[in-house]
């Protein structure tokens, strides 16, 4: 590829920031590096799952140079931040010369390496809303080499009801299992309104595995990916559930 012009926006300092308020949540500017997110004390305090994800993303060199905006705009379905941020209900804002608009991150991802960004449009920031009470989020990826890209990853966010037993709300997102980070809505529907137990986890894993749309590549066959989706979905829902229960106490 030989573009006529290439404009480096990494040096746009106005887009490099991490802001948090308990009312509006977290806002991360597009040119904030992975390393800055990893080292942010405010993110560590309010969204520790984001720090864990960053610590396992590539190498220090890559995290020092790569930005969150670049990662999302690259739209690799096996990227780490996409599925986790979707589970956290994140939105992204973007601007052209005339207007600013925001989209749920889910609508930002269109296809393999393709986003909703129009020509002349620039990604501005990621917005993560405050976490509702009794809510926990877990993320894990499966790979061969530590810190490599996921072969499959799963992010699960779970909100318990006031009694602390019933799943009130959930977002399950699959990475490396479809052309885009995929909301596993059939699996979510199985969880919602139910009391969680091993039998239900099995069902949720099975549904997620069925609605995944993985391809085979040099790392894994389609069948193996579906198996990973099932295993990781069960594990992540269980982890989020256990964490949410501790919060409720």
């Amino acid at each position: 590829m030989a573009p006529e012009n290439l404009i480096d926006i990494k040096s746009v300092e106005e887009l490099s920031y991490i802001k948090f308020s308990s009312k509006t949540g977290l806002r991360i500017g597009a040119t904030t590096t992975h390393r800055e997110i990893e080292k942010s004390s405010v993110i560590k305090k309010h969204f520790p799952v984001l720090v864990d994800m960053e610590e396992n993303l590539a190498s220090i060199q890559t995290r020092s140079w790569g930005t969150i905006g670049g990662n999302l705009a690259h739209a690799d379905p096996a990227g780490d931040p996409g599925p986790l941020l979707m589970a956290l209900d994140a939105r992204v804002s973007m601007a052209n010369k005339k207007r600013i608009r925001t989209l749920p991150l889910e609508e930002f991802f269109i296809d393999f390496f393709e986003t909703a960004l129009d020509e002349g449009e620039l990604l501005l920031e990621v917005q993560v809303p405050p976490v509702p009470p009794r809510t926990a989020t877990a993320y894990e990826k499966f790979n061969i080499i530590k810190n490599d890209q996921p072969i499959v990853s799963v992010a699960a966010s779970l909100t318990l009801d006031e009694g602390g037993l019933i799943c009130k709300d959930t977002r399950l997102v699959l990475g490396g299992a479809a052309p885009v980070p995929l909301r596993a809505r059939v699996a979510e529907a199985v969880l919602k309104g139910k009391k969680i137990n091993e039998g239900l986890l099995e069902q949720v894993g099975n549904r997620a595995s069925e609605e995944a749309d993985p391809v085979a590549d040099i790392y894994a066959s389609e069948g193996y990916r579906r198996h990973l989706v099932k295993a990781l979905t069960k594990r992540m829902v269980k982890s989020a559930w256990e964490q949410a229960q501790t919060l409720g106490q």
Partner: protein, 176 residues
Amino acid sequence: MEKHLLHITVNNEYRELYINPKRLLVEVLRDDLALTGTKRGCNTGACGSCTVILNGLPVKSCSVLAMQADGAEVATVEGLAEGGKLSPLPTVEGLAEGGKLSPLQRSFLDHGAFQCGFCTPGMLMSTTTLLKEVKKPTKEQIKEAIHGNLCRCTGYNSIIRAVKAVAEGEYKEKGR
């Protein structure tokens, strides 16, 4: 392709040069500035042998367009030795004439922390940054620091021992 003017400070020396803007930082360092200590391995951001320190941060110079380093300060392995300006003197003979090896470089020698040596400049830049950020890193922190640097000879243990020795103050005496 129209050439662009790059302003860059490498190993404390300010340079201005006209380059094709498509070129990578590793290419300009090696081919234009003759700083061949920085190695070009995979050229895809995987192996880490091209690691340099850019404005204080370790980065893979194959993943940085040279023009993105406009106005930046870059340190390469040639800048590590004590006693000032060595560039472009990437050979052992050059080191003897110029300054003295850095504590980390001496420790790498003593601990046999390399065999073929191709990864060594990158390893040195990653671990130099680590020791600037963390005075006494744990083994885990050292492993994390060199996670992005592949070595196919040593099995990494001698590299970890070399870094640990410097962190524990074994190389405080003057260089040789």
